[in-house]
């Protein structure tokens, strides 16, 4: 049986999420308050659309919320998203609920309220922008744990201050670790006495606050 996903609120977010989820083979239903938004959403193939306020139980009932496996609340209001997720969870026994929130300070509170996954768009986006703005040298960056931890891939150029230094000679912040050094075809799990060479690519695991400092220390930027 196909996994059924319910998207509540949000127009652009719902649109792109619906498209990508349908492509991956999920059965997606969208609920939106606005008639115009619904008409535009309805143009997406295989997407079921309902008009109505998703914080009202009868609207969720119409949209078959009790059959949904995952409910994702995407409205602009934190309060609405909380109510949607609580209703889905308590009244309709949806297995997994995801809420988008705008106030990062309420993340813990939302988890405490039994919501399975809380995504704070603002903190994720601001982290990404910060990283993009300062560190254009980076090849890839994977944020995990709501963006609190990230794994970055850092190429070491000839000009970098850490070239030919041993790991214990580099002053890295405490919450940062070099997990792997990719040197040509080889992958090295480094120790304190491993020397960094020009052309190495370092895999860096770090907490968000220390990432920028660590990368500056390594690349000199």
């Amino acid at each position: 049986m196909k996994t059924k996903i319910l998207l509540i609120g949000g127009f652009n977010k719902a649109k792109s999420l619906a498209k990508s989820l349908i492509k991956k083979g999920y059965k997606v239903t969208a609920i939106n308050k606005d008639m115009e938004c619904c008409q535009l959403l309805a143009q997406i193939e295989h997407l079921t659309v309902f008009v109505g306020d998703g914080t009202k139980p009868f609207v969720l009932e119409d949209a078959n919320a009790h059959n949904a496996d995952i409910a994702i609340a995407l409205t602009d209001s934190d309060a609405d998203n909380l109510v949607i997720c609580k209703l889905c969870k308590n009244k309709y026994n949806v297995k997994k609920t995801v809420a988008l929130i705008s106030d990062p300070k309420k993340t813990d509170f939302f988890y405490h309220m039994g919501i399975d996954s809380v995504v704070c768009a603002i903190s994720v986006i601001s982290n990404v922008i910060e990283q993009q703005a300062f560190l254009d040298e980076m090849a890839t960056l994977v944020p995990i744990g709501e963006g609190r931890i990230s794994i970055a891939q850092i190429p070491i150029s000839q000009a970098a201050p850490v070239v030919d230094k041993k790991l214990w000679e580099i002053k890295l912040p405490k919450e940062v670790i070099i997990g792997c050094i990719m040197r040509g075809e080889k992958n090295i799990v480094p120790r304190g006495d491993t020397r960094i060479l020009a052309g190495d690519v370092l895999v860096l695991i770090s907490s968000n606050e220390h990432e920028v400092a660590a990368i500056q220390e390594l690349t000199g930027r």
Binding site: P57, A79, V83, N90, D103, F109
Partner: protein, 150 residues
């Protein structure tokens, strides 16, 4: 913050949302000698309070944890959520009860269908629509009785 230290020990009520209902309640409680703090997003809303209101009014978004901290919500004995949005009231009530551990929380709810969200958390709700319907019903049935008597 020094302002609040003096009222900590007494019964201290926070009302969020200076709607007509909020203002009325604040006036009543305050004239009964209770410590009252009322929060609303706009300064304008406090005009609804009576000129003799003896409590504190605080401008700010009541759903923000910072604002609630400023209101010293941890030491409140009661929190009443009467903003004009049901969902905001639910959020506020849950915040007060679960995050700040306030003992007595009351929320206004215009759509009684959402009540199931409150039930498991022991939050009291009042539903003006239901209350009015009951009252009107009472008045009507009284009239009917009178007519029958004649």
């Amino acid at each position: 913050m020094g302002l609040f230290k003096t009222i900590k020990k007494q019964n201290y009520t926070i009302i969020i949302g200076c709607s007509r209902m909020g203002a009325n309640l604040a006036d009543t409680l305050s004239s009964a000698g209770r410590s009252v703090l009322i929060i609303d997003r706009t300064e304008e809303a406090f005009k609804k309070l009576s000129p003799f209101f003896g409590g504190i009014s605080l401008v700010g978004d009541g759903t923000e944890i910072l604002v609630l901290n400023e209101a010293d919500i941890k030491h409140a004995t009661e929190v009443v959520a009467v903003t004009n949005s049901d969902n905001t009231n639910i959020l506020l009530a849950l915040l007060a009860k679960e995050h700040f551990g306030v003992g007595h929380v009351i929320a206004r709810l215009s759509d009684p269908e959402r009540e199931c969200v409150y039930q498991e958390f022991g939050i009291e709700t009042i539903c003006p629509a239901e209350l009015s319907a009951k009252e009107i019903n009472r008045l009507l049935s009284v009239e009917e009785v009178v007519e029958e008597d004649e």
